[in-house]
Amino acid sequence: MAEAVRAETAAPEAFSRAVAGAEPGRVLGLVGPPGSGLTRLGLSLLADSARRGPVAVVDVRGWLCPPAAWEAGVPPERLVVVRCAARDLWGRVTAALLEGLPAVYAEVPAGANEAVLRRLGALARARRAVLILRPLRGDLPSGLAHLNLVGEAVRWEGAGPGHGRLTRRWLTLRAAGRGVGGIDRVLEVVDDGTDALRVVSRLAAAPAGRVAG
């Protein structure tokens, strides 16, 4: 269906330029199930901020694998992983990191308090830090994120029936929120394992009740 609604596009452009989400003082939401490619997307969005100082990942499950961040362009000496499984501590830890770091990628534990999330958003704006939130279950409260990227579909290249290897991922994302002027857009992002994600096409938003992908 993605092909059916594909819009004419020019040359691929850098993801960070096409999607103005991870800017100082902005909150970016990444919503989708595990496997939809959003962790790597979030890590790659830290890479810009990592040029200005250390960046942190709040790892709720303890599953984060730093080589993915290094491949996405975050230098090893600039990445700090904070493991925090306790929901009551999560908000305070994330707030402490936002006080001094230019960017924080935080997995949001299931059942996180909405008021805590909104306070973190306000803190990120006040400190002009980038806050990327990746809820492990469900959505983020409405209006919290400047831009919400929802993983709609993922497609891999390189692996066949018993041969090859995973080389390139095509990720269909629905962008929503103030960052896209309140009008939903569907983007297709290609990730070939290097530190440059590229938007290869901007798809027209699918009509209500249908899903592109």
């Binding site: 942190a56 993915a68 961040a69 992983v81 925090c84 018993g162």
Partner: protein, 480 residues
């Protein structure tokens, strides 16, 4: 070089009666008679007129003031190049080279004073110090004759914290018993930065006589914006309109780089090939409106002095001295921001424990998890046990899975003649769309450990890394 009463230098301002210049309902300048009656700069117009009912009120016309000031800028520029105009009546002159050329600070200042008086009349105040901030204060501090400051730090030390122009910070500093710039400069910079943030850091630098660093980072040349006009623009209003869109492009172009410029070089080329250039400086970084306004003033000054014969063919804006505002400070640039980051991480350590705040370094290994050497943040990074540059045959090719469970998790997979057919993810079975592998990892067979085979498996829900060993299948990574 500062003319305190430049706004009052206009034909309709009479020196013999109280007079004030008003813009946006606020008094911008007042002559000595008006000031004697209680009128002060910054006062509301209504209040000023209540205090001094006889005051003559003139509307500010910054364009005309700038046009008149152009003659002074040109006169100074004849002596010293690269003059920077801040506002009509105030300009900065970089004198480092000129001091040697003219044989010392005294002769140079005397020459500039003479040129300024010839072009703009008496009343200019000249201050010479290290950096624009101190030079401006030196010019303000002198009533007659130029003020040449030999020791900028000592000169600033006696001044009130109010001269920083940040009333809220000054009030807090006074409350803390810090009333002078000297007392502020004596505080540790990290402590000031920690209490007041970037604004405090800047204030501490100014108080220490360091001023803002010039050109903290080089700007790429492609941030210069220009517009060509064919046919050339004859009308000032049209040019001002073009200036607005150029200013928008300039500020927009700087957006991804963070911050705004402290200086903008305005260049105009006339149809007959005459090239004009003027640098505008601001104590605060320029925004779009401010840039457009300065360009409009400058164009008017050039047009009224006949500086663009044949019309305006090219208008070019180049930013310089990008500000730190609007972005976090560079870690490597600034010890204070490094300290802030360290404090933030130390607070996180206090909350979750030192074992949960981790840094990682690459090391060699075949499994994704083996290729990471974790250590506590703040501790020195240990030397890798396995060489990350060694080939490691059997290791998985990139990209790496973003998520790796700390311990491999049992996974249900249906096989058909050695090929994975379906995999159970949560409560549902997902068909395998494609798979690659296996990559065999021969383990310590002499210790009875069997080989492990790893597979990359693609489903409609994403790609996963499986490991098959001892007859069971485990989840070893998620390509999230």
């Amino acid at each position: 070089m500062w003319f305190p009463d430049w706004r009052l230098r206009r034909p309709d301002a009479s020196p013999d009666e109280p007079c004030q210049v008003v813009g946006d309902g606020v008094v911008l300048a007042a002559n000595s008679l008006a000031r004697a009656a209680g009128v002060a700069v910054g006062m509301r117009r209504r209040q000023a007129e209540t205090l001094c009912p006889a005051v003559a009120t003139l509307a500010a016309d910054s364009g005309a003031e700038a046009a008149a000031f152009e003659a002074v800028a040109v006169a100074v520029e004849d002596l010293v190049p690269r003059v920077e105009v801040v506002a009509p009546g105030l300009l900065f002159v970089p004198v480092a080279g000129a001091v040697g050329y003219y044989g010392g600070e005294g002769p140079l200042v005397a020459l500039v004073a003479e040129a300024v008086e010839a072009a703009g009349g008496p009343g200019a105040r000249l201050g010479l110090a290290h950096g624009p901030f101190a030079a401006r204060l030196a010019a303000e501090s002198t009533a007659a004759g130029p003020a040449i400051v030999a020791d900028t730090r000592a000169f600033l030390a006696s001044l009130e914290v109010a001269v920083l122009g940040r009333e809220e910070m000054a009030a807090t500093l006074r409350w803390l018993g810090i009333t002078t710039l000297g007392a502020l400069a004596a505080l540790p910079r990290e402590a000031v930065a920690s209490r007041f943030g970037p604004a405090g850091l800047e204030a501490h630098r100014l108080a220490s006589g360091e001023d803002r660093r010039v050109q903290p980072r080089p700007l790429p040349e492609d941030l210069v914006v220009e517009e060509r006009f064919d046919p050339p623009l004859e009308d000032l209003e049209q040019a001002a309109f073009a200036a607005r869109s150029l200013a928008h492009r300039l500020v927009e172009g700087l957006g991804p780089w963070g911050g705004a410029p402290y200086r903008v070089v305005v260049e105009a080329e006339s149809a007959s090939g005459v090239l004009r250039s003027r640098t505008w400086r601001s104590a605060d970084p320029f925004g779009e409106a401010e840039v457009a306004e300065r360009v409009r003033w400058q164009l008017r000054a050039w047009v009224e002095s006949g500086g663009v014969p044949g019309g305006l063919a090219v208008l070019r804006l180049a930013p310089a001295d990008r500000s730190d505002r609007g972005r976090q400070l560079h870690l490597g640039d600034d010890a204070a921001s490094e300290l802030e980051a360290a404090r933030a991480l130390a607070r996180a350590q206090a909350l979750v424990g030192p074992e949960a705040v981790l840094a990682a370094r690459p090391q060699g290994g075949r499994r994704p998890g083996e290729r990471v050497l974790w250590h506590r943040w703040g501790d020195p990074a240990p030397a890798p046990e396995r060489d990350p540059r060694a080939p490691w045959p059997g290791h998985l090719p990139g990209p790496s899975p973003a998520l790796v469970p700390p311990e491999p998790r049992l996974l249900e997979v249906e096989w058909d003649e050695g090929s994975p057919e379906r995999v159970r993810l949560g409560s549902r079975w997902e068909p395998v769309l494609a798979w690659a592998g296996p990559w065999r990892h021969t383990r310590r067979w002499w210790a009875g450990e069997g080989a492990a085979d790893r597979y990359q498996v693609v489903t409609s829900a994403g790609a996963f890394l499986f490991e098959v060993r001892d007859g069971a299948c485990y989840l070893a990574g998620v390509y999230d």
